[in-house]
Amino acid sequence: MSAPTSGATVSPRPGLARSSAVVCRQELRDLWLSGRGIPLLLAFSVLLSVTSYLVASNQALNFLEQRESVNLTLQMAVAVGGLMVLLIAGDGVSGERERETLESLLLTPAPSRSLVLGKAAAALSLWLASFVVTAVYVVFLARGVGIVADALVSGFLVGTLLSVFLAGFGLFISVLSSSNRFSLSVALFALLALFAPSQLPTSAQNGWAGDALLHFDPFTAGLQYLSKVIVDAHGLGSDLLWLVGPAIAAAAAWVALWVASGRLRLTPGRR
């Protein structure tokens, strides 16, 4: 990130909200106009096209119900959208540190937390863009069975919660890492670990321990909520308990990030 021009000469220090907004604007420009965001979005749309074509083929062969097709596509979108947010967030601080572009911010009279907040907001913009792309597929696949609104609202809710969690988590790891490689490795490993419970066989999900794991693992819980709303046709408010896990994970990640970002050092090679 280059040093924000507006606000750089303001003295005394601008408030957290104002400086965060300046950082966010700059990050958004870097992400969407310098070519990082759109290639990721292109890869995302290609992947979603492949998935949608696959589920539509299976739907045409009567192997999948329409509701299951929508659920599958939405789950894929939420998972990969979250992955992209994590990658951007994981690169946020450690990447700048590695590229030695962080020190230019030494001249900017902005609190270090505003730097992190601005980067988090920019990372979340990737989820919002992904959701816009996803909505096109969902509206097409869900037409005719009256689940378009529920699918879009539940998908946005779950995707946003998971993205907020992953943005906080990715930036937390990034603030603590001096190497981008280390930061991204840890972030991706954690993401795979969080996905693991959703792939457990049904026989391993029984009992109170299995049930607790499913509810507290943010990905499994979020994807379960989507299934309940879309496939089982439960109302949006019927299974909100499944969203407690993702909400707690998001809150915990942001508390950790808030604490860690207060100690952020901008000088090269320092954490």
């Binding site: 990721l40 083929s57 999948l64 992209m84 792309v133 991706l188």
Partner: protein
């Protein structure tokens, strides 16, 4: 700064590849777990009724099918009826009818559970001279040549396994280029995003 940008671009290309590979690994896993036998019954080409036979010496009971052969397409559902006649003068306790599917080609793996989720019927005690009709709903989940048959047995007797005649089923493959009309969407959305990428690239070049 330029070198940093180059390193950054290389890094992002690697990340892009990671996303695509990870996601492509996830797709088959999720899809395979979501398979379900659903959907409407399509048209079938049914052959006339045929009489069943029994494996064994003395006629104790017979199993007949209402069709001898049929043709359908992959994913379609079809229905047939089996008729069980107890020709003896004894009650057959704990009678069970069981549906099975066999592929006539060695390279086609058949999991009968995929073809029918209700393959075992517990009929209880079948009275002497009683006739029991069973309707079997089957979905064609593989293409090729198959034999479908019904086996009946009861709780007692070592030789009491009776098999129906074969229902020969030909399932044609189905290849649709535009399933459910989604093709324009899956092409147009990435194309629009790609246009955005071209615009962004040209804008960056213009600014240099």
């Amino acid at each position: 700064m330029t070198r940093a940008r180059v390193r950054s671009t290389q890094g992002w290309l690697a990340l892009l590849a990671t996303i695509v590979v990870t996601a492509l690994l996830l797709v088959p896993a999720v899809v395979s777990s979501a398979y379900a036998a659903t959907g409407p019954s399509p048209a079938l080409t049914a052959q006339p009724l045929t009489t069943g036979s029994r494996a064994g010496d003395a006629p104790t009971w017979t199993v007949a099918l209402d069709q001898q052969q049929l043709s359908s397409s992959l994913g379609n559902r079809f229905t047939f009826v089996s008729t069980l006649d107890n020709l003896t003068d004894q009650v057959r306790p704990g009678t069970i009818a069981y549906l099975n599917v066999v592929s006539m080609r060695s390279d086609v793996y058949v999991d009968p559970e995929d073809w029918s989720s209700h393959r075992t019927r517990f009929l209880g005690d079948v009275q002497p001279g009683a006739t029991t009709r069973l309707t079997w709903n089957v979905q064609a989940v593989n293409s090729g040549s198959f034999v479908v048959f019904v086996v009946v047995t009861s709780a007692t007797g070592s030789d009491e396994v009776v098999t129906s005649p074969a229902l020969r089923v030909m399932i044609a493959d189905q290849r649709r280029l535009n399933p459910t009309g989604i093709l324009p969407v899956v092409v147009a959305v990435p194309a629009v995003v790609a246009l955005g990428l071209v615009w962004s690239w040209r804008r960056r070049r213009a600014l240099r």
